[in-house]
């Protein structure tokens, strides 16, 4: 081995070692390999729906003319899976997948408020398309106009979103208050590698 080749090899090894050493501080930046937190949801069966001031929602509060933002009781509102939109639709219009029977008591439905495209909050409940094609209001995200139909399980009817809006099953307790009847059917928020894999792996 010549001296030149030896020095080149040594420099290469030193550079590689330095590069490898940089990985350690870099992984401290966040949970690099553990993506479990992306599947987190604070909702479970029995959790009450409250408004932004912590007041519980009663089923009678929900009218068909507008939408309501609700949060899980006693949970930080700044968690992506916390905010939901609640609407009431005439039961004969509701067309949910068979597996979601009973998710909409009295025609009241709840969906994640976070758009599955860009992660913005849905802030509109309006007629998204031309009246002859879609006379009923739907959820619209103001960032890129993804539009989700609450009557058919949050399906995408317009805009760039690639996944339906996750739905939250509801129930009405003996006091007439709204409670979650379980967790969302799907992870909340924008899509990623494992979003359709059924949970953290």
């Amino acid at each position: 081995m010549t001296r030149k080749r030896f020095l080149k090899g040594a420099a290469g090894a030193a550079g590689a070692a330095l590069g490898a050493a940089l990985v350690v501080p870099a992984v401290s930046l966040g949970p690099a390999l553990d993506t479990e937190s992306l599947y987190y949801s604070p909702w479970y069966r029995g959790r009450r729906l409250v408004d932004e001031n912590g007041r519980p929602y009663r089923a009678d509060d929900i009218s068909t003319t507008t939408f309501y933002t609700a949060y899980p009781e006693n949970v930080d509102h700044e968690v992506l899976a916390a905010p939901i939109v609640v609407v009431r639709i005439k039961p004969d219009r509701i067309d949910l997948p068979a597996s979601r029977a009973g998710w909409a008591p009295e025609g009241i439905l709840a969906y994640s408020k976070i758009c599955t495209h860009g992660g913005c909050a849905i802030s509109e409940y309006r007629k998204p398309l031309f009246p002859p094609t879609s006379p009923e209001p739907a959820f619209v995200c103001p960032c890129h106009y993804s539009t989700f139909d609450p009557a058919t399980g949050g399906s995408v009817i317009y805009g760039p979103a690639g996944r339906n809006l996750p739905q939250l099953p509801l129930m009405i307790d003996h006091a007439g208050e709204l409670r979650a009847a379980g967790d969302f059917n799907d992870p909340v928020g924008p899509s990623f590698w494992g979003v359709r894999s059924g949970g953290p792996t």
């Binding site: 870099a26 992984v27 930046l29 966040g30 949970p31 690099a32 390999l33 993506t35 937190s37 992306l38 987190y40 932004e52 933002t69 949060y71 509102h77 700044e78 968690v79 992506l80 916390a82 905010p83 408020k113 976070i114 495209h117 860009g118 992660g119 913005c120 909050a121 849905i122 802030s123 509109e124 398309l129 031309f130 995200c141 103001p142 960032c143 890129h144 106009y145 993804s146 995408v156 317009y158 805009g159 760039p160 979103a161 690639g162 996944r163 928020g189 924008p190 899509s191 990623f192 590698w193 494992g194 979003v195 359709r196 894999s197 059924g198």
Partner: protein, 454 residues
């Protein structure tokens, strides 16, 4: 007095030969060479106003209650970051002026860079021996985008939070590694852990400005060492001859006047024209958003691209290989900047022209380059305008959905039409010039013949 000062400096630094050379440096005498200077002066205003803002801004997401002088927000829960920006706007004397000037300067800075880039591209100024200068310039443009994005995101108002959510979705959308990437950047799932604001802050006020400033210095040093390019002038021009006005006493006062003008315009804008009134947007919460949201203009092309892509995720089995935001938010800018970076080498390979060029082309002199550049610009700007389709719907009532379909067609067809037409125009201009020259020559000869006859 002056000569004593100069001697003092020279004896201690040996700077006289350098100064003599610098003062005699010849600047080309054409307005389009000032676009880069406008960007430079906007950068100086940005640094100056930015330093002032750091004296009052708190990069913290600790929750606090507002008690300042803007009544509609009083008693509201908000982060320290947002509160300090509202305080800068209402309770710091001259705070609003400086904040708005900073914001305007950012918009002008990027605009000036883009115009400068267009000048450099369409005149072929990027050719040998100036490819490095060009690449560093494109790199600076690339860095200004996250710099500006982080700047308005730091305020933690409702609009900036929505922008960050989209940024998070784009990070998540990278194939395979997206989830890990986003979690590393945000320190956890959106809206991130407590360290995220300090990360944005140090990038915005330290890392990116230092990178831009350093590249700026290298860019200017390279310009001076290879010397400016020259427009062709009749008869007197050659590749080895430099015509222009000297740095002193010619260009220096001009340049100084330009600096003062840029600063004056930016401060006038900052003082008179409202920009990003964060107190009207309110603080950001994950569960809130507002309609009619638009980013600053230099990110408009990305929102347009995100809105134009039809709804699909690329799924293999139970794995989501390409989530939708990747196309518009990541791949599209990568393609645009990739094309900008490789252009000088691409052109060289196709034309086989390896010579050094100090004399500029006029756009018509290189019809293919001009045509491709115009088509490329059309493509990017149509996507930019698609991002404003919702505003057009509000102002003119043209259906948003029809507009999006029209843009989807236009972004595919229009660039090629523009390319074809531009090339024809260039060739026609060349022909017209040849005819004109011929005519001139003939007139000359006729006049000479007439003179000889009499």
């Amino acid at each position: 007095m002056l000569s004593r000062f100069v001697r003092f400096l020279d004896e201690r630094t040996g700077s006289a030969p350098f100064a003599r050379k610098a003062l005699r440096y010849l600047f080309p005498d054409h307005w389009s060479f000032l676009l880069g200077e406008v960007a430079l002066y906007a950068f100086i205003v940005l640094v100056a106003t930015g330093v002032y803002l750091t004296l009052f801004f708190h990069p913290s997401t600790a929750v606090t209650t507002y008690h300042g002088s803007y009544a509609p927000l009083r008693g509201m829960q908000m982060t320290e970051a947002y509160r300090s920006v509202v305080d800068i706007s209402f309770d710091v004397k001259a705070g609003l002026l400086i904040r708005q000037t900073h914001h305007w300067a950012a918009d002008v800075f990027v605009a000036a860079i883009v115009l400068h880039l267009m000048r450099v591209f369409f005149t072929g100024a990027f050719r040998k021996p100036r490819e490095l200068t060009y690449v560093i310039g494109v790199l600076m443009l690339l860095l200004t985008l996250p710099e500006g994005y982080l700047g308005y995101s730091l305020a933690d108002d409702l609009l900036s939070g929505m922008g960050l959510a989209i940024g998070y979705a784009v990070a998540l959308s990278f194939p395979i590694i997206g989830a890990n990437l986003a979690l590393l950047i945000w320190g956890g799932p959106f809206p991130g852990d407590g360290t995220f604001w300090s990360r944005m802050y140090v990038m915005h006020v330290f890392v990116l400005p230092i990178l831009i400033g350093t590249l700026l210095a290298v860019h200017l040093a390279l310009v001076a060492s290879r010397h400016h390019t020259q427009f062709r002038r009749k008869d007197r021009q050659s590749e080895r001859r430099i015509l222009g006005i000297p740095a002193f006493p010619g260009q220096a006062p001009r340049s100084l006047a330009l600096f003062f003008s840029v600063a004056a315009v930016l401060f006038l804008l900052g003082g008179l024209v409202q920009i990003n009134p964060v107190w009207l947007w309110g603080p950001y919460h994950v569960g809130e958003s507002t309609n009619g949201a638009q980013p600053d203009w230099y990110l408009g092309w990305l929102i347009g691209a995100l809105r134009l892509v039809p709804h699909f995720d690329v799924v293999i089995g139970d794995r989501t290989l390409v989530p939708n935001p990747f196309w518009g938010g990541a791949l599209f800018p990568m393609v645009v900047f990739g094309a900008l970076f490789i252009w000088p080498w691409l052109e060289r390979r196709v034309t086989g022209d390896r010579r050094a060029h100090n004399v500029l082309d006029r756009p018509r002199d290189a019809p293919w380059r001009t045509a491709i550049g115009a088509g490329f610009l059309t493509w990017v700007f149509l996507i930019f305008f698609a991002g404003a389709a919702d505003r057009i719907y509000v102002f003119l009532g043209i259906s948003y959905i029809s507009q999006i379909w029209a843009y989807r067609g236009l972004v595919i067809v229009a660039p090629f039409i523009v390319l074809f037409v531009t090339r024809k125009v260039c060739l026609a201009l060349q022909r017209a010039e040849a005819i004109e020259a011929e005519q001139e020559q003939a007139e000359h000869e006729a006049a000479r013949a007439e003179a000889a006859a009499t």
